[in-house]
């Protein structure tokens, strides 16, 4: 029934300390003595002006798809481009075709093509048959080295090395946490709209390496990661039941969560992974419950006759936001984690649902419905400062990148297949996730370790 997922392989990072110091002294000799602003991709203000960057990882090593260095470069460039902060320069424009990772580049060649940053490197197979990539990041104008690092992994994991490189560059130049070495658990959809097959699936953040975790004999929906481990919780819908499960990606082990009477759905982990919040529909009434996963004891948090669903824990675990129609239409409410102190936090026109706290806890992403359209938006944790980021015929299910800067969601055209999209919190950087099939209900993993 359950197919194996790609096991999570250990990864090695080490700084090229010795090498870096050699280069540093080398750089010092050629570095012009000019005071300059540190190179930085602009974050948080105004229209983003993407920073032109050249990526050139060379290699003598190949795999079935060709040169490994070229492939790694492509993955790094695609990651950086999708972030909205970078404009990778077409390698065909490069003047300097020969670059040695241990020799300072000729910066004039890179200034000429308007590269502000240059990352060059070398990928090779080491004595143990592992793939090693040494790379450096340079500020082309100040001619300073910004990074010198090396990553090692098994050769088939070359994409992970590329994501690690992209993360390092992104972090150095934006000052924010990287998010490329992450995965997405989602629902892979196939078949006609009336007989849709919905399978639990997982892939890299950029749509690569997809694999199915369930066989499609029942519908899987609304998966969520445990921020603390490689566990997923999700809902399974069969003809006569709706149940929630916990699935361990590493072991492939799946377990049902308790024998709860009624329909059970909308499961989410608490931030520390010790509890599960979910909804139970019984006698037509849907309320929110929480289960302690160790003792399996449950507690009902809401008791109104209205609908209460789609719970989301705040980062510190103290608050739960959720959807309720107790006021007549679906709106977002917050309560203390024990169910006390329920207060409404959305008051705009239309209806609101699927609230999700950002990883830092300062924002809540949500789905809004108004004037016949669906939007993904963000607002402060108290409901203030609502901003709608995207809008279409049908879109919902926001999930945050671990750095809190991007939101993934799914969009479904009238009568069509759903697909995954990302948008940044400014709403200016919107991108389709390059996964070829139907996909919905994404959940972004924490950063891989």
């Amino acid at each position: 029934m359950i197919r194996n997922s790609t096991p999570h392989r250990p990864f090695m990072i080490r700084s090229l300390m010795a090498l870096a110091s050699v280069i540093a002294s080398l750089s010092c000799a050629v570095m012009p003595a000019q005071a300059q602003e540190p190179l930085r991709a602009t974050v948080n203000q105004g229209v983003i002006e993407p920073l032109p960057i050249a990526i050139k990882i060379d290699s003598a090593a190949t795999n079935a798809s060709g040169n490994l260095g070229t492939q790694i470069s492509k993955v790094v460039m695609a990651d950086l481009e999708r972030s909205g902060f970078f404009r990778p320069i077409d390698p065909n424009a490069f003047i300097q075709s020969q670059l040695d990772v241990n020799v300072t580049p000729n910066f004039e060649n890179w200034r000429t093509i308007n590269a502000q940053a240059l990352s060059n490197g070398m990928a090779f197979i080491d004595g143990q048959g592992r793939l090693q990539v040494d790379f450096r990041l340079w500020d082309v104008f100040s001619e300073k080295q910004l990074l010198g690092m090396s990553f090692t992994a098994t050769p088939e994991n070359y994409r992970r090395i590329a994501h690690k490189i992209a993360d390092a560059i992104y972090e150095k130049l934006t000052g924010e946490e990287g998010y490329f070495d992450t995965r997405i658990v989602f629902v892979a959809e196939s078949g006609g709209r009336a007989k849709r097959i919905k399978r639990l699936a997982i892939m890299d953040q950029d749509g690569a390496n997809p694999s199915y975790l369930t066989d499609g004999s029942y519908k899987v929906m609304t998966p969520r990661f445990n921020a603390d481990s490689q566990e997923i919780t999700y809902m399974a819908l069969r003809d006569d039941s709706a149940r929630i499960y916990i699935f361990n990606i590493e072991t492939g082990r799946q377990e049902t969560v308790g024998q709860i009477k009624g329909m059970v759905f909308a499961p989410r982990f608490s931030p520390d992974g010790s509890k599960l919040a979910y909804s139970v529909a019984q006698g037509g009434n849907t309320d929110i419950y929480v289960m302690d996963l160790r003792s399996r004891s449950t507690r009902r948090l809401t008791t109104e006759s209205s609908i209460e669903t789609s719970p989301s824990f705040s980062a510190d675990g103290s608050t739960i936001v959720f959807t309720s129609d107790r006021g007549g239409s679906p709106q977002i409410y917050a309560m203390n984690a024990d169910g006390s102190g329920i207060r409404r936090i959305t008051f705009g026109g239309g209806s609101y649902s699927t609230p999700v706290y950002s990883p830092k806890g300062d924002l809540i992403a949500f789905t809004k419905q108004s004037s016949g359209r669906f939007s993904i938006g963000v607002m402060g944790a108290d409901g203030s400062g609502e901003r709608l980021l995207t809008s279409s015929y049908l879109e919902e299910g926001p999930t945050w990148a671990p750095n809190g800067r991007y939101i993934m969601f799914f969009r479904e055209p009238p009568g069509g297949m759903p697909s995954l999209w990302t948008v940044d919190v400014t709403g200016r950087v919107e991108r389709a996730v390059p996964y070829p099939g139907g996909a919905s209900d994404p959940a972004w993993s924490p950063r891989l370790k």
């Binding site: 006609g192 709209r193 009336a194 849709r196 919905k198 519908k219 929906m221 609304t222 819908l237 003809d239 006569d240 039941s241 709706a242 329909m263 759905f265 909308a266 909804s279 529909a281 006698g283 037509g284 009434n285 849907t286 609908i307 669903t309 789609s310 959807t323 129609d325 239409s329 679906p330 649902s353 699927t354 789905t367 419905q369 016949g372 015929y393 049908l394 919902e396 299910g397 479904e412 009238p414 009568g415 209900d441």
Partner: protein, 184 residues
């Protein structure tokens, strides 16, 4: 005796059912229609228009079967946008469902609540659960023993009509009664 619209409906139903009993009696043998797990998209109006062979033998509906229920009673009731209250047309159809179910006490049913796609997934599961419960309560009031009824919500996952239009959405806001056990 006061003739209410309801009793006329019942009377009509009984008449029809006995008519189909007669029709069937002359038939040699027919494969019993197994309870179907999946929704029948649109109830075929009448079995008379069987286009192929057997021109003489009338194709009948077995009384107490899923087909009998779908064709002669109706298995779905419809709801207004974001509502779970029963409309008058829904109540009339549920009266007929209750009468049929009282007549066939071995039959067990599952009421499946459905919602249109103009809502978020989880909210729609909750909305569908409400709709299924409305139907369950009504049938119980009309004499169907609660132990014969189970309910589930499919939210917006099992649309009847996949056209993205007001008409399509209206059809998808429904509760379907599926016979799970004891049908002929």
């Amino acid at each position: 005796m006061i003739i209410t619209p309801k009793s006329i409906l019942k009377l009509a139903l009984v008449t029809f059912v006995s008519a189909s009993v007669v029709a069937c009696a002359s038939k040699p043998k027919e494969e019993p229609v197994a309870p179907m797990p999946e929704p029948v998209p649109t109830p075929a109006p009448m079995p008379e228009a069987a286009p192929t062979p057997a021109p003489t033998a009338p194709v009948g509906v077995i009384p107490g079967s899923q087909q009998d229920f779908v064709v002669n009673v109706g298995d779905r009731v419809y709801f207004d946008l974001d509502q779970s209250g029963l409309r008058e047309d829904a109540k009339a159809l549920l009266d007929a469902q209750a009468a049929w179910l009282v007549r066939y006490p071995a039959v067990k049913i599952r009421i499946e609540g459905n919602a249109d796609e103009r809502g978020t997934r989880e909210y729609n599961f909750a909305l569908g659960a409400r709709r299924a419960e409305s139907v369950s309560q009504y049938l119980t009031q009309k004499g169907v023993v609660p132990a014969r009824i189970s309910t589930i919500s499919y939210g917006k996952e099992n649309p009847l009509d996949t056209t993205a239009s007001e008409d399509g959405w209206a059809k998808n806001r429904n509760a379907k009664t599926t016979l799970t056990e004891g049908a002929q």
